[in-house]
Amino acid sequence: MRVAVVVFPGSNCDRDALHAVQLAGAEGELVWHETTDLHGADAVILPGGFAHGDYLRAGAIARFSPIMGAVRAHAQRGGLLLGICNGFQVLTEAGLLPGVLRRNATLRFEHRWVSLSVERRDTPFTWRVPDVITLRMPIAHGEGNYWLPDDQLDELEAAGRVVFRYTGPEGNPNGSARDIAGVIDATGRVCGLMPHPERASEALLGSDDGMLLMRSLVESVAAAPARVPAAA
């Protein structure tokens, strides 16, 4: 299983994501944003950071990077695509995932450990997560406040496309609508979340719950119909 981690200028969690991917047992490769070739990767990760400084709007400039053509094509072919934090922002700006990540309700950068409930355990990103557990991992962002107009949120939830929600005593750290922390697209093969699973991939770091997501991704086989959830 080969995973490409895209590096935009200003990405800063790329090597973290690569490390976690390798720990999960896959071959990983850092891919510079200026290439147009993903080298046949089975899965692509857009990592956290401040691509292009997050100037203008988070992810707004990165979505025009040359690599994004290949990323889109990869998704269109059913390839697995995971956006973490800044990566999630890029995917929403690129229209590959619905919604927008706005400034945190606290108007501050927030670094906190959060608890996530997992609402879909039948996606390529979550099928390794055991029943009835919440995942603990850190968030670190200034713009993680997920938003859509109410009617579109209703549709999103009805279609079962909310995958992660903030829960537990720590609660919602950024004011996200309906406590949404992560979503998938209609194909179920593009996922974005604000928390950082790669930072919770070893017990030594405080939690290895994130490894459940990394392993789910890595152990998925690209064309296994049983793993694709029915789109509502």
């Binding site: 292009h52 400084g53 100037y55 203008l56 400039i61 025009f64 990077s65 040359p66």
Partner: protein, 82 residues
Amino acid sequence: MAGYRFSISIMPREGILDPAGKAVEAALPELHADNVHEVRVGRRVELTVESDSADSARATVDSLAADFLANPLIERWEISAL
């Protein structure tokens, strides 16, 4: 008493480094807009002042802009009545 509405456009001062403008401009060739230059990025505030006169409303906005909405050290601003 009436409500007077203003907009305040706040931009980086000339000569001050504008990282946002710089990053946006650097990205333009990718959008095939390499004939676009001198990008500066600022922000805009709109507000209403309740006052007896336009002059005194304007005075309120002048001091709000200088003391609070903008950072005179590194920003300049323009106030327009809406």
